[in-house]
């Protein structure tokens, strides 16, 4: 925005929110210029609303001033979804971070969007309840951000992603009106359409969530394998055999080395890959499932099998897994993480292709992924100060997505499209598919004030990417 327009925007926001409700110094704005993706752009203002009424006022002011509006949770997103690429107002929910109402008998809770994911399960545990989606960022990521990206996490395998857990939403629409939608309302499922829309359809101000009853028995096991392929084959076999596990996660040698150096949870360092699995439920079923999975693991060449003996050991194994990306800082200054998903029988092929692509580009890759869902997270390690490495990472990332699409998969399992993958979206969807999605946007935000530059390809490139779509399918 021009300096004078930005100044007017800040003045008007300040008049409504008070001095505590707006950040405008360059240093403060700098903290909201980026998320976990390597793209940054200063916003013109950061608004810190306290309730839905203030959010509605912010939206109306921003509209009047022609300023884009970007909602931001904790900024842990990996695709640039919270980066204010066109400037404007960032709405931070750091002051809308409360649990509003808990209805334990009916297993429902209402939270503000800034409420932290992990905090929810901790808070409701005393009622014998927990919250299903558990992205690895759950210590800091917020339920508003989780809703925007349709986040999943390791336990999405059993409990599903956010869309299966959001029961109702309060949101501010494109004209600054407070709206409410409930999955039990008669009529169109507006709630379902809003989940995963990455802040482009409305600004969520309250979320009703479904809670689950804590399982009585939770078992966490670790199987060591000679390589990622054999671990993946085991996971495909477990799924195909219909054995119920609540999480099936794979880490390769690179990742295990990094997490062991950091967390010391006791993962085997000599294995090519480890399978971390969790089974939950009643003891009879847990015993059965562990036996059945261990048998399959042996058939696919497992080198060892270990079952966590205590809750502490179990928690340590999980803490390592969820801290894997951070632990990689020990072996490379930067990493680039992918989020492609493939049909689960294609997992071994997908992992094989990922490793080939990394090798062809001269890159080190660490594989840590939600194997049970077919959701890959290859981490390409690089140093962003080296231009050649950056180019190689970009090229390899593209090739990985293309390979996964060719295997019948898609480009995001749980992180969303954001800024990063918007030009790749036409590889998955036809112009007609995308135009239909835009009809939805026309209804909620016709002026495109909410999170511009996200999800959908920029117009100029849209036509150009048609050609690679065919090339991708043919080339793989």
């Amino acid at each position: 925005m021009e300096t004078s327009s930005a100044e007017r925007l800040r003045e008007r926001l300040s008049a409504v929110l008070g001095a505590q409700g707006i950040l405008s110094s360059r240093e403060d704005l700098g903290s909201y210029a980026f998320d976990a993706f390597c793209e940054d752009r200063l916003p013109d203002a950061v608004a810190l609303p306290r309730d839905a009424r203030e959010v509605a006022a912010i939206v109306r002011i921003a509209r009047d001033c022609g300023a884009p509006i970007v909602a931001r949770g904790a900024g842990t997103g990996l695709c640039g979804g919270a980066v204010p690429t066109a400037g404007g107002v960032v709405i931070s929910f750091s002051r809308m971070n409360r649990l509003l109402a808990l209805d334990a008998p009916n297993r429902r809770v209402r939270v503000q969007p800034g409420y932290v994911n992990l905090e929810l399960s901790r808070t409701v545990a005393s009622h014998g309840l927990f919250f299903g989606p558990d992205p690895s960022s759950q210590k800091t990521s917020t339920l508003g951000g989780n809703t925007a990206t349709n986040a999943g996490g390791p336990h999405a395998l059993s409990y599903g992603s956010m869309s299966a857990h959001v029961l109702a939403l309060e949101y501010v629409d494109g004209v600054g009106e407070i709206q409410r939608a409930d999955v039990d309302d008669a009529g169109y499922d507006i709630t379902g359409a809003l989940v995963g829309s990455e802040g482009t359809l409305g600004i969520v101000t309250a979320i009703d969530l479904r809670l689950l009853r804590l399982p009585r028995d939770i078992r966490v096991c670790v199987a060591a394998f000679p390589d990622v392929e054999s671990a993946s084959e085991t996971v495909s076999a477990v799924i195909g055999a219909g054995i119920s596990a609540t999480a099936l996660e794979i880490m390769d040698r690179t990742i295990v080395g990094a997490v062991e150096a950091h967390f010391h949870a006791g993962y085997p360092l000599d294995a090519g890959a480890v399978l971390l699995l969790e089974i939950a439920g009643e003891q009879e079923d847990v015993d059965y499932a562990e036996g059945a999975i261990a048998k399959l693991a042996r058939e696919f060449g497992a080198l060892s099998w270990r079952s966590a003996a205590t809750a502490r050991e179990r928690d340590a194994l999980w803490a390592s897994r969820k801290g894997a990306a951070g632990a990689l800082g020990r072996i490379a200054p930067n990493y680039y993480i992918q989020d492609a998903t493939v049909p689960r029988t294609r997992l071994p092929q997908a992992v094989h292709r990922v490793n080939e692509i990394a090798r062809d580009h001269g890159l080190t890759v660490g594989n840590v992924f939600h194997a049970g869902d077919g959701n890959l997270h290859p981490l390409l390690l690089f140093d962003r100060r080296e231009a050649r490495q950056v180019a190689a990472v970009s090229s390899a990332g593209h090739d990985i997505l293309a390979a996964c699409i060719a295997l019948g998969g898609t480009i995001s399992g749980e992180h969303g499209i954001g800024y990063e993958k918007r030009e790749t979206l036409p590889y998955v969807f036809t112009p007609e598919d995308l135009a239909t999605m835009q009809r939805l946007r026309d209804v909620f935000d016709p002026a495109r004030h909410f999170n511009p530059d996200k999800i959908f390809p920029s117009g100029a490139v849209c036509g150009e990417v048609r050609a690679p779509r065919d090339a991708v399918a043919a080339g793989a």
Binding site: D184, A186, Y188, G192, E284, R344, Q349, G374, I417
Partner: protein, 438 residues
């Protein structure tokens, strides 16, 4: 890698079942309204082209699956053409080791169930009349069954769709993967839209393994035992996947009522788990003053299907059924409200109270057809204040036009109208049939 080779399959209707593209419109009357023409297109492209032509000609279209839930909603304002999915009934792709299946919209739920059962899998749709109900129709109707508290809603098992919009656009969303955050989840809008936004032509489901054991427990509830029995069941360590308290439905649902009705509980899991659940259930019900529990094992699935069928079963033209949704803890209050208003209007009440989802299904009837419509209309007027959210799920055509079949519209109705305008600007698809006359 060879063992991962994709085994896609495509089944075609047997030659003697192939329908003509043009059908007799007489079979597609809706609330005594008759279309001028009826078609069963054989391909997605043909379906989309037919829809586009109707849209261009200003002809109103009602979409048909098996027709089992066409009793939902208002009668259409205009009705020129029926478009049936009957010829789009194939299983498009089933990779059982992925636990995913793609079917055409006209695939019946019975065919889907059989196909999945061959590999020990199922999709918990819990819809009635599966022999004729179709995948597309059931989802378009937004059907919700009793096991959704345990397994999730039907929408949670739909991982992708292909839809024809009124202008003939063929659009897909989602895909064949079980975890997906790629683009808008437009699919959610079509599910439950009663064919007013687009025609669902293809549905991709994720599936579940069929539990090793399934047992239906039925207990007659003696006088003044209902509340305690429900509390004890809610505290069971092994939760039933469905927990229903039924009153009436003697011809449709297994078991016989005590003074407080009867409880039907479905347990699913390993054999050992179901055995333990049974022991704990008997003990829990015994201490609530419920002496006997009948168990059905081999016929549990069939008995459960009979319960689901009962949701929309009618007693000729002298009954109507409402569904009230809400949290489980206030289900008894909503049931009591139904009972009160039914009493005032001298209607017999039969009910299915769902302790896990909070649904209350209420079937109202009279002994004779003569004065039923009049009493029902009076009932419907009075219930608007105490059960404003309840919806009619089955009622005779003669009475439906005068009932508040959708219940009070939610505050989001203007947004819903805007969606309709953007997806179907000419109001070609089932005009007037949806909530608020959308």
């Amino acid at each position: 890698m060879a063992r991962c080779a994709r085994r896609a399959t495509r089944s075609r209707p047997a030659p003697n079942r192939v329908l003509a593209t043009t059908l007799d419109p007489g079979g597609f009357a809706l609330d005594e309204r008759h279309p001028k023409a009826a078609y069963a297109p054989a391909t997605d492209a043909e379906f989309a082209a037919r829809l586009r032509a109707c849209d261009a000609n200003g002809e109103a279209v009602v979409l048909f699956g098996g027709g089992t839930l066409q009793g939902l909603g208002f009668a259409p304002e205009r009705y020129d053409v029926a478009l049936s999915c009957a010829r789009l009934d194939a299983v498009i792709e089933y990779e059982h080791r992925d636990l995913t299946i793609a079917v055409q919209a006209g695939c019946t739920l019975a065919a889907l169930e059989r196909r999945l059962a061959a590999h020990g899998q199922f999709v918990p749709l819990d819809a009635p009349r599966i022999a004729t109900a179709t995948a597309g129709g059931t989802l378009a109707a937004g059907w919700l069954g009793p096991r959704r508290a345990a397994y999730g809603r039907p929408r949670d098992f739909v991982i992708g769709t292909t839809v024809a919009l009124a202008d003939g656009t063929l659009a897909k969303s989602g895909g064949m993967v079980v975890k997906n955050s790629t683009g808008y989840d437009v699919t959610k809008l079509y599910l439950g839209s009663l064919g007013t936004l687009g025609a669902i032509l293809r549905v991709n489901f994720k599936t579940l393994p069929i539990p090793a054991a399934r047992r239906l427990a039925i207990a007659r509830l003696p006088e003044a035992t209902r509340t305690r029995a429900a509390e004890h069941v809610a505290a069971l360590a092994v939760e039933p996947t469905a927990a229903l308290i039924v009153r009436g439905f003697a011809d449709e649902v297994d078991g016989r009522d005590g003074v407080d009705g009867r409880m039907l509980l479905l347990f699913e899991g390993s054999e050992r788990l179901v055995e333990r659940a049974t022991r704990e259930l008997r003990s829990a019900l015994g201490s609530a003053g419920v002496p006997e529990t009948q168990l059905i094992d081999a016929g549990a699935s069939a008995a459960f299907a009979r319960i689901v069928d009962a949701y929309v079963s009618s007693r000729g033209r002298r009954s109507a059924t409402y569904r009230s949704a809400g949290v489980p803890s206030d289900a008894p209050l909503r049931l009591e409200a139904f009972a009160r208003v039914a009493r005032v209007n001298e209607l017999e009440l039969e009910s299915i109270e769902d302790a896990r989802t909070g649904d209350v299904i209420a079937r109202l009837s009279t002994a004779s057809e003569d004065d039923f419509a009049e009493r029902l209309i009076a009932f419907d007027g009075e219930r608007r204040t105490v059960l404003s959210e309840a919806r009619v799920i089955a009622a005779p055509a003669t009475a439906r036009a005068r009932l508040d079949v959708w219940g009070a519209p939610p505050a989001s109705l203007p947004t819903m109208r805007a969606l309709k305008t953007r997806f179907d600007p000419n109001r070609t698809l089932a005009p007037g049939r949806f909530i608020g006359g959308i």
